[in-house]
Amino acid sequence: MPRDSEDRSFRYPLKWRIMDGLNAALDLLWPRRLGRYTGWALLTPALLLVGILVLGLFQIAENSLHTLDTSTFLPGEEYTLANYLIVAESPTYWRIIWRSLLGAGLTVFFTLLLALPYSYMMVRTNKAALRKTLLIVLFLPFFIGQVVRAYGILIVMGSSGAVNDALGLVGIEPIRLLFNFPAVVFGLVQYMLPFAVLMLAPALTAIPRETETAASSLGANWLKVFRHVILPMAKPGLVGAALVVGTLSLTDFAMPAMLGGGSQDFIANAIYDQFFRTADQGLGSALALLLVALGSVIAGVVIAFFGAGTLGMRGRK
């Protein structure tokens, strides 16, 4: 019932009173004079959440300094670098590390080779529908997830899969396409392609079309335009994409595990095996820390050479 404002029982709407209460509570809990720390207060939950990862790294470092006592199957008490020595002296681990590095290098090369024309065509096309289609083709696998994508590749490239069927039509005997090194690299390229294109596209968008027209009006053919205009101007994007693709494939687990059939282990698979097959946590931790260090060194070297702008971080050149 509407009442006139003279009425003694007039009260503010419930929503206002709740708001006033919440404001008062906020003033009590977080007085205005603390205003300069408000940013930090809002940031604290995120800092703590990421802190779990830092804790985890410390725990890995701790674990890596104890060897497995084979009589009790418990980590030993004393601190030792023995686990790192085992890794350094083992030809098996060196082979796995080289395989991972080679796989990552090849993946970067082939992914960029495919991603560059893809993003170039996507950015330069005048047809909105075509651009949308190329984007959807890119985003769909990104959201499907690695396991299901690897499963798709298993089906397509299996001994009775579509690829071998197609080869059979032109009279080629079925060949074993899976469970070897090229299969793992192929899986990684397929997995990384969307990442690379999405990192390259903004860099290519930033290049004005006119620069290309200018270059070709001065007599450069398209290879020269690419070599002297596009590649230099897209360098930050290319370096960023190479870095992301390289570190992600260097540390990948699923593709070597599923498409390599156990014979093409990368470092991540070796770490997993140490934890879940051999139950030697110390050795596994040493490998894990070495992998983190390897990734950071590569990222550090690339950023030192090309600047931090490559990762889309603001400021700091």
Binding site: L135, F139, F142, A201, W222
Partner: protein, 265 residues
């Protein structure tokens, strides 16, 4: 102008990309519709029997429910945390802002196997391993940069004066936040939330490290089943993921438009 040889070469490469990106997906969906008992493409007669099969399979069903729970927990943790952090990074002048940004990018720079093993050890020492909720928390940690990035790009576009105007009209700090700041960053919050949910649904490696037989999530269950035997029922489960991905792409396009990812910063 694009010359002819360039056009031919580029289109060949683009078509190769399209084929390797899409064909496995199409074949998985096709294989799930087979009437036969083995994976075959073209399918051996159309039927939905494998979908009936997975609807009855208890282990897959439970794994699916667990995946949903894990994703919801991931959302419940990362939405508030990521939103506040995204606002803090753009709306407040902080000292050491560069160092904080590098720190908050750690989930992307530490290899997933390292993060996963580290969290496994930490959760183990806290005696919470073997539950479902730590998996959700872990997934919110490893994907946190996505939501922070998406909220801060919304927050950066918000005019500072709006908050001042609200305050000068008598709004308290809480009201200003609720009625001005939060609606302003809402597009970023929704996009980030969508990314977090779908990425948590499909996440594999960290879930593999943090789950056991009783808490296994759907991607890990698929991985385990592939290791033993490849049957068409897995193709049917995979098609569920394809459907989720289709929904996610459609939603993302409706919410922000996919073209936003082509813009140069």
């Amino acid at each position: 102008m694009i010359s002819r040889s360039q056009r031919v070469i580029f289109w060949c490469l683009v078509w190769f990309c399209i084929v390797i990106l899409s064909v496995p997906t199409i074949i998985v969906v096709g294989a799930s519709l087979t009437g036969g008992n083995i994976i075959a493409f073209p399918p051996d007669g159309l039927s939905l029997k494998w979908y009936r099969q997975i609807a009855l399979a208890r282990d897959l069903q439970q794994a699916f429910v667990r995946s949903i729970i894990v994703s919801l927990i991931c959302l419940a943790v990362s939405l508030p945390v990521g939103t506040l952090a995204g606002i803090a990074l753009t709306r407040f002048r902080l000292r050491f802002a560069n160092a904080i940004q590098i720190y908050l990018l750690l989930p992307f720079t530490i290899p997933l196997i390292g993060s996963g093993i580290g969290m496994m050890l930490v959760f183990g020492s806290w005696h919470i391993l073997g539950n479902i909720w730590p998996v959700g928390v872990a997934l919110s940690v490893i994907n946190l940069p996505f939501i922070i990035w998406s909220v801060s790009s919304s927050a950066a576009a918000l005019d500072n004066d709006l908050e001042l105007a609200a305050a000068s009209c008598g709004a308290g700090r809480f009201e200003t936040f609720l009625h001005v700041t939060l609606p302003g960053v809402m597009p970023g919050v929704i996009t980030g939330g969508l990314l977090m949910f779908v990425l948590a649904m499909t996440e594999f490696l960290v879930s593999l490290l943090l789950t056991d037989a009783r808490t296994v999530t759907l991607p890990v269950q698929i991985y385990n089943n592939i290791r033993s035997i490849i049957t068409p029922d897995l193709a049917a489960v995979s098609s569920v993921f394809v459907l989720i991905a289709l929904l996610a792409v459609w939603l993302l396009d409706r919410l922000v438009g996919l073209e936003i990812f082509l813009k140069s910063k």
